[in-house]
C-alpha cells in the first residue's frame, strides 16, 4: 500500500557509527531542561551483552561528529527492553529472565556512569527450572510490569526489591508485548495474536477481556498507545502491518512495512508524528498532513481511526536508505531520531520535519 513511500527519501542529516555490537534497544535519556544528548543502548547476539551509555553532542559547525561511549555495564542476557522512567532511572529486561532498575549517576567530577540499583532476578522461569526470557517491560509512574515466554506476568514497583504479584500461566503461549492502558489496566499480546486486558486490582487470575489482533494468528511484535488518547492502541506485527485500534470499537489494519515491524514510537511531544522501523531495514516517519491537523482535535477524527483515509491523510517519509539489515530499535527526541541496526551500527537522523 505504501510502496511508493519507499522512494521519497528526504535529505536529512544522517550520521552512522559502527560500534561492534548489535543493538536491540536504543533510548534517549530524557532531560529536564535541556535537549537530550545522552542515550543508552542494550545489546543482543554478542558473546557478552552490555548496556552502554553514549553521549552525542550536536555541533552545528562540525559535521564529523560521533557518539562516544561514556560508560557501560555488563548485562546478563539479551536486552529485551529498555525504558526510562524519568530523567535519571531506567528499567531493563533480559532474556535470562531478570529485570533491573538502573540509574544514570554523576561522579563529583561530572562524569556520568551507570549504577545498577535493583535486580529482580529470575522472575521468569519455566516449570522445569530453566530460566525464561523476559520479553517485554512496561511502566506507569513507578509501577512496573514484565511478561515472558513462560506466560507469566509480574507486577512490582520501582521502590521494592520484591515482586508484588505474579500471575503464573496467565497465557498458555509466550507473551510478547505488554503496555499499560491505565494505571490499573494492562494489555498483553501473545505469540498467536491474542490480546488480553488485565485488571491489576482484580484478585482473579483471569483476564478481564480477550481479543484477537486478526483472524490469522499473526504475532504482534510491538504495542504502543497514542500519547494523548490512550484508548487508541497501535500494534505492529510480524507481517509488517500496523493495526490501529480503538479499544472501544474495532481494529483498523494498515499494511505498511515489508518485513516484521520491530518498533513503533510516537513523537513524545507531538502525537501527529509516528515513527516505525522493520526487519527489512526501513525507518519511516508517519506524519499527519498539515491541513488535517487544523481544527481536528476531537478524537472522532483521529486519522488513525479512518482506515480508508489513512493513506490520503498521512505522509510517510523514509528517513534512511535501507541497509539490508534489520533495524531493531528506534527512539525520538525533539528533531533527532536514533536507531540501532543489524549491521552493528547506530544511526542518528537529525532535523526531521515536524
Amino acid at each position: 500500500m505504501y510502496s511508493e513511500a519507499g522512494s521519497t527519501t528526504m535529505s536529512h542529516n544522517l550520521h552512522g557509527t559502527f560500534i561492534s555490537q548489535k543493538v536491540n534497544k536504543i533510548r534517549w535519556k530524557p532531560e529536564r531542561l535541556e535537549e537530550s544528548h545522552f542515550f543508552v543502548t542494550g545489546s543482543v547476539d554478542n558473546e557478552d551483552q552490555k548496556i552502554v551509555l553514549w553521549d552525542f553532542i550536536d555541533n552545528k559547525d562540525d559535521d564529523d561528529i560521533y557518539p562516544f561511549a561514556v560508560a557501560e555495564v555488563p548485562y546478563c542476557g539479551d536486552v529485551s527492553e529498555l525504558k526510562f522512567l524519568n530523567p535519571d532511572y531506567f528499567a531493563s529486561s533480559s532474556s535470562s529472565g531478570s529485570a533491573h532498575l538502573m540509574k544514570v549517576a554523576y561522579a563529583e567530577t561530572g562524569e556520568a556512569h551507570i549504577e545498577v540499583c535493583t535486580t529482580w532476578k529470575d522472575i521468569h522461569y519455566f516449570e522445569n527450572g530453566e530460566s525464561s526470557p523476559c520479553t517485554a517491560l512496561a511502566f506507569h509512574e513507578n509501577d512496573l510490569v514484565t511478561v515472558g515466554e513462560d506466560g507469566r506476568i509480574n507486577f512490582f514497583t520501582a521502590q521494592s526489591k520484591d515482586v508484588a504479584r505474579s500471575i503464573d500461566n496467565a497465557d498458555s503461549c509466550s507473551i510478547q508485548c505488554v503496555i499499560f492502558l491505565k494505571h490499573d489496566e494492562i494489555l498483553t499480546s501473545n505469540l498467536r495474536g491474542q490480546m488480553k486486558i488485565w485488571d491489576t486490582r482484580s484478585e482473579s487470575n483471569k483476564p478481564a477481556n480477550t481479543l484477537m489482533l486478526s483472524g490469522d494468528q499473526v504475532t504482534p511484535t510491538y504495542l504502543t498507545f497514542h500519547p494523548t488518547q490512550r484508548h487508541i492502541i497501535i500494534a505492529g506485527d510480524e507481517l509488517g502491518a500496523l493495526t490501529t485500534w480503538d479499544l472501544r470499537q474495532q481494529t483498523f489494519p494498515v499494511n505498511a512495512h515489508e518485513g516484521a515491524i520491530t518498533e513503533i514510537q510516537f513523537h513524545p511531544d507531538n502525537p501527529d508524528h509516528l515513527f516505525s522501523c522493520s526487519t527489512t531495514g526501513e525507518l519511516w516517519h508517519w506524519s499527519t498532513k498539515t491541513r488535517y491537523t487544523l481544527g481536528f482535535a476531537s478524537e472522532e477524527t483521529n486519522v488513525w481511526l479512518a482506515p480508508e483515509n489513512v493513506k490520503s491523510k498521512m505522509e510517510v517519509l523514509t528517513l534512511m536508505p535501507t541497509l539490508g539489515k534489520p533495524i531493531n530499535s528506534l527512539d525520538v527526541s525533539k528533531k533527532k531520531v536514533i536507531c540501532g541496526c543489524g549491521n552493528e551500527a547506530i544511526y542518528l537522523v537529525n532535523g526531521i520535519a515536524l
Binding site: 559502527f18 560500534i19 561492534s20 555490537q21 548489535k22 543482543v44 547476539d45 554478542n46 558473546e47 539479551d78 529485551s80 532474556s95 519455566f126 516449570e127 522445569n128 530453566e130 525464561s132 526470557p133 520479553t135 515466554e149 513462560d150 506466560g151 497465557d171 498458555s172 503461549c173 509466550s174 510478547q176 505469540l191 498467536r192 491474542q194 488480553k196 483476564p207 480477550t210 484477537m212 483472524g215 494468528q217 504475532t219 511484535t221 510480524e238 518485513g259 516484521a260 526487519t279 541497509l323 539490508g324 539489515k325 534489520p326 543489524g342 549491521n343 552493528e344 551500527a345
Partner: protein, 647 residues
C-alpha cells in the same frame, strides 16, 4: 601438494591412553573426546577405560581475527559496500567502470579507517603486552592488504590515460612510505637556516627526490646554509627546469623524451665539468637525475623496499613507462637490490601484480591471514569489472564465476558461525548464485537460539529466501523445547506454525490424556481460539470440538451439546483411548430432565457402545450406559410419537 598440516596437542591423559574421536560441531568447531576404536568382531561391552569419573571434552575452534571488535567495524562497513556493488551490478551492468573504481576506493578507505582505529588502540595505555602485539600483528596484515589493493587498483581497475602509470605509482609509494614527507615537514617547520646540520637532512632530501617531490627537495635545499652559493643556485635552476610529463598537455611522448634528453644532457655537462665535485651529496643528487647506474646503486641502501627504489628509478630514467612494462623493471630492481632470494610474501604479491599475473595475485592473497576478507571482496570486485572473465579464454578450465563464488561462500560461512555477524554472513551467501541457497539451507537450522526473539529472526530469514521447510523445522525444534519446559500451549502453537500434522496430533493427545487423568482441560484460552488452524490434524479437530462441547455444557446449552457429541461419535476421528470418556459424557445428557437425544441419536450411542464394549476401561460403565440409553430411548420414542400425532 604442500604438506601444511598443523598439529594440535590435546593435553588429556585418557585421550592418550584410549585414543581419540572427533566430530564437527556447528558452525566452526571440532569436538574432540576420548574414544576407543572398536571393530565389528569385538564384543559389545563397555571398554576398559569406562568409568564414572568426569571426562573432558575439548572444543577446538579456529581463531578468526575478523571477530575482534575493531575488525568487526571493517566487516560490517565493507558488507554495506559489497551489497551496494551487487545491487548496482544488477541494475546497470553496462555502466560500471566508474562505479567499480569508486567502490574500490571505498573499500580502501574502510581499511585505512580500520588501520587508524588499530593505531589508536595500540596507543592506549591500558592494554596488555599481548594485546598490543596482537594489534601490531593486525596492523601489519591490513597494512599489506591496503598496499596490495592500492597497487591492484592502479593496475587492474583504474583507467589510466595513455597507460602512463608513473604518477599513480608515485602516489602509491608516497602513501606507503610517508616517513620522508613527514620528516620534510618537520624540518621545514623549524624554519631555521643551516638545516644540513640535522642528521635527517640529506636522507630526507633523497627520500623526497625518490618520491618525485621536486618542490620539497628545492624547499629543503633553500634552507641549506650555502643556499645562496652559485652551485646551489645552479642546482635549484636545474631542478626547476625539469620537464614533467602530463597527458593533458598535448605533448607527445617522443617530444617529451626529447625535452628530457636535453635536460639530462645539460646536467651531464655540469657534472662532467666537475661543478659539484666539492659537495658529494649534490653530486650524487645530480647523478641520480641523469639515471646513472652507479649513483642509483649508491642510493639503494636508503630504500626500505624494492618498490620504493623502483618508483624513484623509473621517475628519473623511464618517466613514460607503460603499465605492461612494469614487470620487467620490477624484476630488475629486485635484482639490483639483491633481494631475489629473500622476497617476503608481500613482495611476491606485488611482483605478481606488476607482472599482471592476476591469478597468482589471487592465489597469494589467499595466504594473507585475515580470514578471506581481502580475497573475497577483491575477487568479487575484479569479477564485476570484467577483468576476471577475460582470463577464462587464456587459462583452460578456469571459471571466473566459480572462483568468485568459492571465496564468497567461504567468507560468508565463516561469518555465519559468529553469534552476531550471522546475518552479515547470510547476505554474502545470498550472492552465491550456485551454492548459496543450499548452504544457507544447511547452516540456518544449525544457528543456535535461546529466545523466541531469535527464533523469529531465523524463521524470517528462512521464509524470505523461500526455505519453508527450514522455517518449519526450526518451529518444530522450538515446539519440542516448549514441550520439555512444560509449556504445552506454546508447543502446540509452534507445532501449528510448523504445519506438522503428526506433531500436532501428538500434542492434542497430550491434552486429552491430561484430561483423562485430571478431569480438566488445560489452556482453554488457546483451545477456545483455535479457529481455522484446527484443521492441521484430525486429532486437533477432535480436541477443538471436544473443548467446544465442554464450553456448551458449562453454559447449559444441552441441546447443542448433544448434537455435537453425536456428531463427534459418528465422525470417526475419536481416538481409541478417549472412547470411554466420550461415552461417559453421554450419561448425564441421556439422563437430563429435558430430552436431549432423539431416538435416532440414542441408537447411535448404543451402536457405538456395542462397537466399543471390548475396551476394558468401559466395563464398569456399560450397564449404566445401557440403562440410561434404554430410559432415554423410551422417553424419546414416546415424545416423538406424540409429536407425530400432533401433526
Amino acid at each position: 601438494m604442500e604438506n601444511n598440516a598443523k598439529t594440535f596437542l590435546i593435553p588429556n591423559d585418557l585421550c592418550r591412553r584410549a585414543g581419540m574421536g572427533a566430530s564437527w560441531r556447528p558452525m566452526n568447531e571440532i569436538v574432540v573426546f576420548p574414544y576407543e576404536k572398536r571393530s565389528v568382531k569385538q564384543k559389545d561391552q563397555p571398554t576398559s577405560f569406562a568409568s564414572n569419573a568426569p571426562v573432558s571434552i575439548f572444543h577446538i575452534r579456529r581463531s578468526v581475527i575478523l571477530f575482534h571488535p575493531i575488525l568487526r567495524k571493517l566487516v560490517n562497513e565493507s558488507n554495506g559496500v559489497f551489497l551496494t556493488l551487487q545491487a548496482s551490478f544488477k541494475t546497470k551492468p553496462s555502466d560500471l567502470k566508474m562505479e567499480i573504481l569508486s567502490i574500490s576506493r571505498q573499500y580502501r578507505s574502510i581499511i585505512r579507517a580500520c588501520l587508524e582505529n588499530l593505531q589508536d588502540e595500540v596507543g592506549k595505555p591500558n592494554i596488555t603486552v599481548a594485546e598490543r602485539s596482537e594489534m601490531h600483528n593486525y596492523i601489519t596484515i591490513f597494512y599489506s592488504v591496503e598496499c596490495v589493493w592500492h597497487l591492484c587498483e592502479i593496475l587492474f581497475i583504474d583507467v589510466i590515460p595513455g597507460n602512463i602509470v608513473l604518477p599513480h605509482l608515485l602516489d602509491w609509494v608516497r602513501f606507503h612510505f610517508p616517513k620522508h614527507e613527514r620528516n620534510a615537514a618537520i624540518l621545514l617547520a623549524s624554519n631555521s637556516e643551516g638545516l644540513e646540520l640535522e642528521e635527517e637532512f640529506w636522507p630526507t632530501v633523497f627520500g623526497n627526490l625518490l618520491q618525485g617531490r621536486i618542490k620539497v627537495v628545492r624547499a629543503l635545499l633553500k634552507q641549506h646554509s650555502a643556499a645562496n652559493s652559485p652551485i646551489f643556485q645552479l642546482v635549484q635552476h636545474l631542478l626547476k627546469s625539469m620537464p614533467t610529463y602530463n597527458v593533458m598537455n598535448n605533448v607527445s611522448v617522443s617530444e617529451f623524451n626529447l625535452q628530457w634528453r636535453h635536460w639530462v644532457m645539460d646536467i651531464q655537462q655540469q657534472i662532467d665539468s666537475k661543478q659539484f665535485i666539492n659537495n658529494h651529496n649534490l653530486n650524487l643528487l645530480m647523478r641520480l637525475l641523469t639515471g646513472e647506474e652507479e649513483a642509483w646503486a649508491e642510493i639503494q641502501s636508503q630504500c626500505e623496499a624494492w618498490y620504493e627504489f623502483l618508483a624513484g628509478w623509473l621517475c628519473y630514467s623511464e618517466t613514460t613507462v607503460k603499465t605492461f612494462e612494469l614487470g620487467q623493471y620490477a624484476k630488475q630492481s629486485i635484482k639490483k637490490m639483491r633481494m631475489q632470494n629473500h622476497l617476503r610474501h608481500l613482495d611476491r604479491v606485488l611482483l605478481a601484480a606488476m607482472e599482471f599475473d592476476m591469478l597468482l595475485v589471487i592465489k597469494e592473497v589467499q595466504e594473507m591471514t585475515e580470514n578471506g576478507w581481502f580475497v573475497s571482496h577483491f575477487t568479487d570486485l575484479l569479477h564485476h569489472s570484467g577483468r576476471l572473465s577475460s582470463l577464462e579464454k587464456e587459462v583452460e578450465g578456469f571459471s571466473a564465476d566459480k572462483l568468485r563464488e568459492s571465496f564468497i561462500l567461504d567468507y560468508g560461512t565463516t561469518l555465519v558461525g559468529h553469534k552476531s555477524l550471522w546475518q552479515v554472513g547470510l547476505s554474502y551467501l545470498d550472492h552465491c548464485p550456485k551454492d548459496g541457497l543450499p548452504t544457507i539451507q544447511l547452516l540456518l537450522p544449525r544457528i543456535s537460539f535461546d529466545s523466541e526473539a531469535k527464533v523469529h529472526k531465523l524463521i524470517r530469514e528462512a521464509i524470505s529466501r523461500g526455505l519453508k521447510n527450514v522455517a518449519q523445522s526450526i518451529c518444530k525444534v522450538q515446539g519440542m523445547r516448549s514441550l520439555s519446559r512444560g509449556r504445552l500451549g506454546n508447543a502446540l502453537t509452534w507445532a501449528l506454525k510448523s504445519q506438522d500434522g503428526p506433531f500436532t496430533s501428538y500434542l492434542a493427545d497430550k491434552y486429552l490424556k491430561q484430561y483423562i487423568s485430571s478431569g480438566e482441560l488445560n489452556n482453554t484460552d488457546l483451545l477456545d481460539n483455535l479457529g481455522s488452524s484446527m484443521l492441521a490434524s484430525d486429532r486437533l479437530i477432535f480436541l477443538g470440538k471436544y473443548n467446544e462441547f465442554h464450553k456448551l455444557y458449562q453454559e447449559g446449552e444441552y441441546k447443542e451439546c448433544g448434537h455435537l457429541l453425536i456428531a463427534l461419535m459418528v465422525s470417526k476421528i475419536v481416538p481409541k483411548f478417549f472412547w470411554p470418556v466420550l461415552l461417559s459424557e453421554a450419561i448425564p445428557l441421556l439422563e437430563s430432565e429435558e430430552i436431549v437425544f432423539s431416538a435416532n441419536d440414542t441408537f447411535t450411542v448404543l451402536h457405538c457402545l456395542e462397537e466399543k464394549e471390548e475396551i476394558p476401561e468401559l466395563s464398569d460403565k456399560i450397564s449404566i450406559l445401557r440403562l440410561a440409553a434404554a430410559r432415554n430411548l423410551s422417553r424419546a420414542l414416546m415424545y416423538e410419537a406424540q409429536c407425530e400425532n400432533l401433526v
